[in-house]
Amino acid sequence: MIKIKVKDREGELHELEGPTDMSLNLMELFKAHELPVEGTCGGMALCASCQCYVLSDHPLDGRTDAEEDMLAEAFHVKENSRLGCQIHLIDELDGLEIELAPDESLN
């Protein structure tokens, strides 16, 4: 189990616990805790509804081409933008701090 801190779109902080042995990704963890993340494409890096900003300096794997492509089309993208569905929960991510990007369906 690792702990992840998430700031939602209203600025409220949540501390989520997630298992590292179920090949779960951040998007799935958000949904499991009923945070308002749609996960429209089911985790294929094709919709950006799980976009988030990484606030802590944990050693994340780099973005894949698919993730780069989607972020090139998404809105509200910053240097530290990631797609939650592309970040797998592993022990090294204990204490990760994340902020949800704005809901682009509200643009």
Partner: protein, 349 residues
């Protein structure tokens, strides 16, 4: 007025399979979808992605799954209203539903099956505060008639295939054409990318990257864009601004039909028949919710099958349908086609 036995909202995989199950019960179907082609998310979002959890297919591309479903339902001759979003629903005294699309096409049926997935696909809109006030006054999310832009100053933004394709197409039509993209790289097809770069090189179009449109100006209609580049800001005269960032599904008008909604999905009776709180309306696939719901294509197929058994009794009151296996009876299409097992002469051992 289009009349049918079963109106299906949503022509994704589950909506398409609903036609098959209805056909087995001798019920005719008409499908409505906001996309201009059948397939739903499988066609729009991930046609080239493999799916691994369709029974009996170790691996199948989403686009091929749609092709197969279309072939499977062909004997049951479904009809379609495509490129139109189901907008309003009315129930009359006879118990029939009338569904009108945003284009005004009317449909009437005794049973409605909502297989709307995550909703109807709508353009993804960039976060520009003035965008809503210039919609249809210079801001277009689709190119419907390229001639509209003849002799005009046009700005396209986006970096995918549709932005590139329309840039190439409109380069010869517009008086001035500018393509703006947030990154220096484009993610569209390679030969489109090189065509766009060639057009920029010979001065036919203007390419501004990396940059973003951040504001719009104009008295009654659009005449100027505010653009932010890495180092500064600039203003650009424009008659039309066409942001092309793909599509995003939204539940949309279905949410206003008096159906019980929970977590952006339609609540159904999963113990029985996936019926909604309105008699005669069922919801199947990703659009519905119930305890333990899984948004899987395979679950949608099952839900549609049970919903149709119940719908049969709504359409044929007092009659009970007896389920027969297709291996026993084969399939008789509405087009007169018949599919059944070949008769094999018994062989003496």
């Amino acid at each position: 007025m289009i009349q049918t036995d079963v109106l299906i909202i949503g022509a994704g995989p589950v909506g398409l399979f609903t036609v098959f199950e209805a056909g087995l019960l001798n019920l005719r179907c008409h499908l409505i979808d906001s996309l201009p082609y059948p397939g739903g998310q499988c066609a729009e979002i991930y046609p080239k992605k493999p799916i691994f959890d369709i029974p009996a297919y170790p691996e199948i591309l989403a686009g091929d799954l749609v092709e197969n479903l279309l072939e499977q339902i062909e004997p049951f001759q479904p009809s379609y209203t495509l490129g139109e979003r189901a907008q309003t629903l009315k129930k009359d005294e006879e118990g029939f539903f009338t569904i009108t699309t945003h284009e005004g096409t009317k449909h009437r049926s005794r049973v409605v099956i909502i297989a709307g997935g995550l909703g109807s696909f709508e353009p993804r809109k960039p976060p520009i505060p003035e965008l809503p006030q210039f919609e249809d006054r210079g801001v277009d999310y689709f190119v419907r008639d390229p001639e509209k832009y003849r002799g005009k100053k046009v700005v396209i933004s986006g970096g995918g295939d549709s932005a590139l394709d329309w840039t190439i197409h409109l380069a010869d039509i517009a008086r001035e054409l500018t393509l703006i993209h947030r990154r220096n790289e484009f993610r569209g097809a390679l030969d489109s990318v090189s065509k766009v770069r060639d057009l920029a090189e010979i001065g036919r179009i203007q390419l501004i990257t990396p940059a973003e449109v951040i504001g719009l100006n104009g008295a009654t209609s659009l005449n100027e864009l505010k653009i932010k580049t890495e180092t500064s800001g600039l203003k650009l005269e424009a008659d039309y601004f066409i942001p092309l960032f793909g599509l995003l599904p939204k539940l949309g008008p279905i949410g206003d039909w008096g159906l019980e909604i929970e977590k952006n999905a339609i609540k159904v009776n999963n113990a029985l028949d996936y019926s909604t709180n309105i008699q005669g309306i069922y919801a199947v696939g990703d659009v519905n919710t119930y305890p333990g719901k899984l948004k899987l294509i395979l679950s949608g197929f099952h839900e549609a099958t049970l919903a149709l058994q119940s719908a049969y009794e709504v359409i044929n009151p007092g009659k009970k349908h007896v389920m027969k296996y297709t291996t026993v009876n084969g399939i008789t299409g509405f087009d007169g086609s018949k599919k059944e097992a070949k008769k094999v002469e018994p062989v003496a051992i």
